[in-house]
Amino acid sequence: MGDVLVWLIWFLAAGGLLASGAAVVSVSNPFYSALALIANLASLAVLYLLLSAEFLAAAQVLVYAGSVMVMFLFVVAYLGGRADAPWAGGPPLLRTAALVAAIALLVEVVVVLGLAWGDNLSDPAEISAAFGSPGAIGELFLTDHLLAFEITSIVLLVAAVGGVILGTTPRRRGENEHRREA
């Protein structure tokens, strides 16, 4: 019975994930696209829960969907109408090529999955209740992945500085454009 419920939730989350993913790349307004990504992140969080990654699910919702995407929405709002760009366009060949390349990547991964389906995907490991809890993750961050943890913080810091530098350049339109524009 529990299985059925899990499957049901899985299907709902998967449906949400795929639909919102498709929406992200297909809607024409970046604002809706960003909203779709928030929905996508939320669906992912549900799947994370099913995969016993409670802490990640929480982080996904709080940090990612909650803060990062809000920042994104702010920028889209700030840009206003300027944020709109043509949907795809360009030579039809380009669109076809994009589609083919994306499908090729997808099919390959699926084929690889099919090849591996029998052997190592069948029996997931037994896990303890603490698997994926904040405590367990935190402990790993202080032991095995201490360095990765520190670097993550550095990356964030660098990004903050970089974002500020790029975002705060004084507005000097066209003045002393010192290079030939083609």
Partner: protein, 102 residues
Amino acid sequence: MSGPGVGWYLILSAVVFGTGALGVMLRRSPLIVLLSLELMLNAANLALIAFARQQGDLDGQVFALAVMAVAAAEVAIGLGLIVALARRDLPLDVDQASALKG
């Protein structure tokens, strides 16, 4: 583990990765391209977490958490760049950013 096996999650992950890649290759708005990149990173995260579950090994989850931070960092810089483009009154359209070529 009750419910769907890891393979099902991986199929989802592959589809989302493909969708994101398609977005990067197809869309012209840098904002949406940026969001598509996020999609790709999250697909990889789903794969990492699914594998972590299957292996019973938390490393994958830790990796996924780090990736989240990186994704946020990429967004921050991408947005900064887009704002800078907008301030210079340059078109927010990757197809029009093609002065550099040949």
